[in-house]
């Protein structure tokens, strides 16, 4: 990797090293190695994107730069050398506890993943920024520190007023909380900044603003930043250089352009191939995608000829009712209107995306359709028959024809029961098959989701996230439904697993003519999973049509903003 670095050092500006990590090794106390010798360098005024999937050890590497190892981890070998703006270079390991403490927050600053958890809820936000200045004895007087708090708040685009400083963390939005975190990090003019997934969990537009702030502050203050993330698209937007981690090892490192567009290592290539792109040009998972695309054009033949609103009007008159039709659905919890006047339809073999950010009402909508949430007004029809509102009041057939897959595979399977037991439940309840055929049917479903029969007797605790989600999909399939409602089913999974689940869904749709309602916050998946899209914002569908139409010619401001803010590779 070092060769790759030197050969492509095409940047003319001189790269002055601020932090050098040399063959760093970290292991669990008395256990296996977490980092197997990481070497990397951070340069002044540049952002290094450190990319890896869950469990790759990227956060451990980041925290090591602060001389911090979480409980249960220990530093075993290698070193980190720091070259501060003023003063001599030194090794982190050579510092005493007190010197390490002085270093943290002043020379090396940290911006954590979840500002809601990292800001102390019982201390006012201005106070929390000021604390950094106080403990590191910034400036000469209290007044000078007060002025610095105001200045750094304004730097990150927040009001520096006393009123604002007196707010509690819970009175700020997620984006504002993260800016407080950034202000705290920049308060002491650090040499190095460690950012640990600082935009995960933020809405696309908020993320765009926070990323702008980070980029701007890094350049302006000439800081060397390490940006830890699983999101390659964010890295493409932000980083000057990229390092890719896999299971505690650095597999590739180099300028962003090179790593992202001409990757050398197999893992990087696969990772990049798994990232969905807005244009949909990429084969998310090569072979399967090609087949399903063929099927998609077949299945959506009618839709293509009559796109958008026209389809609804004509089908309304035609004898054949929609497979699934939602009319004027509205839902409120107390005074809080969650959904209003939702109309939508679904045809056999069609995949429709419901796109919305957190709080848009997308989960409520999908649960209304499956009867998990009742008390809505309007109607949900299956083949023209109106469905009862609550799943318990629906007929056995209705209940089995529409199946729902939950967001988190860590929550949707009972940890005390085997996969086989959990998957038999829908069969027991539908009473369609004699008991003797249950096991075989479940095993076939496990085959269908490419898990295999050996999973029948295993429990969720033995399975990875992706395997659990496949099992959950298998549960939805045992009664051979016509409609599958997938509620954010890939958002808890790594990109590569997401890619495999997406390709599984496409295969199932092709094999079984399944209609899929794919609910997500991730617009870049649109072209990979769906023919149609409904954009949901604050409980209202603001944009709808074929994916092509909506992505090429968005009509609503919200969709336009979404498309312009989304980071892309």
């Amino acid at each position: 990797m070092s060769t790759a670095m030197t050969t492509t050092a095409d940047t003319v500006e001189d790269l002055s090293t601020v932090l050098r990590m040399d063959d760093l090794r970290v292991s669990a106390v008395g256990g296996s190695e977490i980092l197997l010798g990481i070497s990397l360098e951070l340069y002044r005024g540049q952002i290094l994107g450190l990319v890896g999937e869950s469990g790759s050890g990227k956060t451990t590497a980041g925290l090591a730069c602060m001389g911090h190892y979480r409980t249960g981890l220990q530093h075993t070998a290698g070193g980190i050398e720091l070259f501060p703006r003023d003063g001599d270079p030194f090794y982190l390991e050579s510092l005493s506890t007190e010197q390490t403490r002085e270093l943290r927050g002043s020379r090396v600053a940290y911006i954590p993943q979840d500002p809601a958890l990292s800001l102390n809820p019982a201390i006012r936000v201005g106070e929390q920024i000021r604390e950094v200045l106080d403990v590191h004895a910034f400036g000469k007087s209290s007044a000078e520190r007060g002025a610095r708090v105001k200045e750094v708040l304004e730097d990150v685009g927040l009001p520096g007023t006393d009123e604002y400083q007196r707010r509690w963390p819970h009175q700020l939005s997620g984006g504002q909380q993260q800016r407080i975190g950034i202000a705290m990090a920049f308060a002491m003019f650090p040499d190095v900044l460690i950012l640990d997934e600082p935009t995960t969990g933020l809405d696309v537009s908020t993320q765009a603003h926070v990323l702008d702030t980070i980029r701007d502050m890094t350049r302006r203050h000439d800081v060397a930043s390490l940006y830890i993330t699983h999101d390659l698209a964010v890295v493409a937007e932000l980083a000057d250089r990229v390092a890719v981690m896999l299971r505690g090892e650095l597999v590739e490192e180099g300028p962003a352009q090179q790593v992202l567009h001409r990757p050398e290592h197999d893992y990087t290539k696969r990772l990049l191939a798994a990232v969905p792109d807005l244009a949909g040009r990429k084969d998310l998972s090569a072979a399967t995608m090609r087949e399903s695309e063929a099927v998609e054009t077949q299945a959506s033949e009618t839709q293509v000829s009559e796109p958008g609103e026209a389809t609804e009007a004509s089908a309304m008159e035609s004898a054949e009712p929609y497979l699934l039709e939602v009319t004027d659905l509205a839902m409120k919890f107390g005074d809080n209107v969650v959904l209003s006047s939702i109309d939508m339809t679904l045809e056999p073999g069609e995949s429709t995306m419901i796109l919305g950010e957190s709080g848009s009402g997308k989960t409520t909508l999908s649960r209304c359709i499956t009867g998990l949430v009742d008390g809505y007004t309007g109607s949900v029809r299956y083949r023209g028959e109106e469905l009862a509102k609550s799943t318990r009041k629906r007929t056995i057939d209705h209940r089995q024809e529409i199946q729902y897959v939950f967001q988190s595979p860590f929550s949707s399977l009972n940890p005390r029961r085997t996969i086989g037991e959990s998957l038999t439940v829908p069969l027991e309840m539908s009473k369609r098959l004699p008991r003797s055929e249950h096991k075989q049917t479940v095993e076939e479903a496990l085959d269908a989701v490419r898990l295999g029969r050996s999973f029948y007797d295993r429990r969720p605790g033995d399975l990875s996230g992706g395997e659990r989600q496949r099992a959950a999909i298998a549960r939805a399939l045992v009664n051979a439904p016509r409609v599958l409602v997938c509620d954010e089913i890939t958002s808890a999974l790594d990109v590569s697993v997401q890619a495999s689940i997406v390709s599984l869904l496409n295969t199932l749709r092709e094999e079984r003519g399944l209609a899929i309602l794919f609910v997500t916050h991730n617009i870049t998946l649109a072209r990979h999973v769906s023919g149609h899209i409904n954009v949901l914002n604050k409980g209202v569908i603001v944009d709808r049509g074929t994916v092509e139409d909506v992505l090429e010619n968005p009509t609503h401001e919200y969709t336009k903003a979404l498309l312009s803010d989304i980071p892309q590779l």
Binding site: L63, M66, H68, R101, E102, L103, R104, G105, S106, A109, Y110, P112, D114, L117, S118, L119, N120, P121, A122, I123, E131, V132, V135, H136, W168, H170, Q171, M184
Partner: protein
Amino acid sequence: MMAKLILRRLVLSLFILLAVSVLVFFATLLLPGDPARAILGQQATPERVAALQAQLNLDQPAIVRYFLWLGGLFVGDFGMSTAFGGPVSALLSDRIVSSLVLMVLAAVISIPLGLGFGIFSALHRGKRRDKAVTWVSLTLAALPEFVIGIVLVTIFATTVFQILPAVTMSPPGQQVWMFPSQLILPTITLALVVAPYIARMMRATMIDVLDSGYVEMARLKGVPERQVIMRHAVPHAVGPVAQVIAIQLAWLAGGVVVVEFLFRYPGIGQALIDAVTFRDVQVVQAVSMIVAVVYVVVNLLADIVGIMSNPKLRSAS
């Protein structure tokens, strides 16, 4: 918002007390025996018994008597003691003070002790010091109060050393605090029962807080460890621990019964046991209500502390 929450707790507390009063009153109605005859003795004439019954409202229906009793409670009139003849309030007033002295002393010792050991244990989690605190608190928490009391008596008053009095013997009319040496063993017994719970809860709460994102962040900001603990961690443990302390203080109101019996301490616990033995209904009712009031007030205070220590509730408009 905050005022509304506190008001709600207040209303709930009053409701609980009312329900307890119904429960206590009608439960004691089931007690066998006629209070009027018990006061006057077996030789009393039927006329005198009837007259006293009328005076005590015993000829009224139960529901009327309940409201008369309830009304009396508000003005400190707990009725007449059947066993001792006098008004219950006169019988209990000194004893309430004595019991409160014992409870306050026990609380003053056990709360700082419990909090201190809890924090100490949490800060040295997994180390030998933590293990030692855990074992001691687990052991003490397991023991019934009379077992602790008897062990203390055996060691300090009778069998091993004879340095402290085993029982309380204050001459009538004298207050218990005139004889501090007699207070030592009962106080230590109660404190040893209460402190381990507080320590265990404090440890668990502190460990949660120390593992939180904001404590890690404070350390990564370079905040000195002492300040991390005192400013970032401890304030968050206040709310939950206040609840446990309240439960323990409320428990003191009941646990004091056994300890007072063991040390012959002239408090309400002793009065309750005597009253139960002599079927002295009015006293049983009064003591049960007093104990319930202590429970409710202490819990209310804990709720208020919990609400006040939560900035979300404090600052919401």
